[in-house]
Amino acid sequence: MKHDTKDLSVGRPRFARSVGIVGAAAALALVATACSPSDSGGSSSDSGLSGTVDVTSIQDLTGAVGPVGISTQNGMKLAEKQVNDSGMLGDAKLKISYQDTQTKGDQAASLMSSAVSTKATAIFGPVSSQEAVVVAPIGQSAKVPTIFTQAGSDGVVIGDYTFRVTAPQQYYQPKMAAYLKSQGIKTASFIYDSTVPTTKDITEKTLPPLLEQNGITVKGKYGFQNGTTDYSAYVSKVVGEKPDAVGVEGTNPEASPIISSLRNAGYKGLIFGGTSFGAASLKAAGEQAKGVVWATDFDPKSDFPKTKQFVADYTAMFGSPPVNYAAEGYDAVYLLAQGLKNANSTDRAKVQAGMAEAAKKGYDGALGPLKFEGNDLRQDGYLQTYDGTAVQPVENQS
């Protein structure tokens, strides 16, 4: 089985975030003057569904998280095709325009401020948390339904017009904590990317209390900045603490170098992490990554009918099996499609209400049976491990 996972909620945070925030502020000012509450913008129609339903996707297709965005986009394209082929929207056809943020916050803000002024009925936001927190206020302020995947930090689902079809990682970390306890782990240390909101939150806020509840003491947490090129000092510090397990919470390119450094420094204990772990990100570490464990939201080997169908359809369309990002993109398009169907209109306010109704009911998706809390997905997730060449499910996970 091949299952590529990369975290992110990522990006090149240093400049992008600050520039993006300035961009967002400027964009918000423009939006505020351009759109009154009663004017939902563009040429959204209240005369039923027909013709083309224009939707914009603002996604990281190049740059640091380009592969995550491309995978998400592939899932969206499959869903777009299936929605249109199935006649789910009657005579109307979804038409998603895909735009590239280049994993830059300022670019994301600029594209978003343009998109809300078009006739786009809804907008799909970028996977990077740094960009999502910039984009979300623009969508919310302009009252355009804005749907995110991945972007797991606070500040993304900020109002009734913002939705997220990826459960934040903290919702599947209890499983990880319980698993560590079951393996007899008593102590743990962390090496983490302190510039990525998701990995920072998991390491500093989410996991410590969960580990404590399971009788696991955190010996140390050592944050590095995105773009660090040598982890030797962090690894030496952690190895010197002799923890039973080491948590590696970072982005996709950071996974293998840190794991290799840990093993090269003689660390033989359990290594665990987040969705940045996966076949692609662990390939470089190879045998050194054997036995690492992580929590994720997608199990491509699941027996759930919708998941099986999605895996088959995706593989047929793209020639390779899907990863979690593709499943999330797929489910995100279906949330919009159900919203459109419920609204029977392209009016943004009605579509938002339709999507909220779909989220309240829940629906079967590629990720499994989907339940929302408000506009935000909630999932228990799955534990997976690496056998040196491929990803496998962790057996006997509670």
Binding site: I70, F224, S236, K237, A265, A284
Partner: protein, 297 residues
Amino acid sequence: MIQVIADSLSLGSVYVLFALGLSLSWSVLNLLNLAYGAQFMLGAYFAYVVGNHVDLPLLFVLPAVMIIVAATSVVADNLVFRRLRTTAGTPVESELSMLVASIGLAAVAVTLVQHETQGESKFVPKSVFQVKTLNLGDTLHLTNMQLIMMVVTVLLTIALVVVVKWTRFGRAMRGVAVDPATCELLGVNSNRLFSTTIAISGALAGLAGVLLAIHLNYVDSTMGDPLLTKAFAIIIIGGVGSILGAAVGGYLLAFAEVLIVAYGPANYRDAIAFVVILAVLLLRPSGLFARQRWERA
């Protein structure tokens, strides 16, 4: 403490190895080469490509990659930098236009590699070099690649200092750095000297790219960017134009960073390290080893 020193030497080698070629082109060509990070990345990428197509060890892959990157650097010089040098009205104009051009060249290289790799991280195959750990009891862990990098860095620094200071070629380089027009009148072919220098700089970038890609266990289209910022800081601390200064600056920065991780708040490593740099520059604005402001080479 032994491990802290070893980690500092290892990280310092990473920084110095990267900064040497950049320092050379800045010293001689007045070229603030922002494409240097991309040249470094190309070295790592070509090692990945060569390693995946030919079953050759590092001893063969390394020189092959150095030659390829040196050649691409010379082509870039002939097509872009030389024209800008000769057509610019003033030295300042020339430096600025080359700086902007180097940003463009970097973007082209990064985009091409990003397209080829689909943005995914790659790695140099183990058939090129097998990283092994050398343990000295419980107190010291070093890999064979870290040791190689340390030795190569010291040897290269010494070699460059000797070449620049005590050879005919080095004297010509220093002369051209100060006054290319007068050097031309004295029979120095400045264009050939520029090309040779940029080829050496490119080869050094290639060498750093290969070794660091193996050490870090990853190849990525943007892997040169973070190092570029550090390298500029290192060169400025050492004093622009001083090879030895760049080396000392690299090790100083590495020691500061490792000490912060080992004994201080790791999250603030970069911030504290750059505060130290700022303090050094406030005390010695021209850097530690610059005898005169902006005296090069």
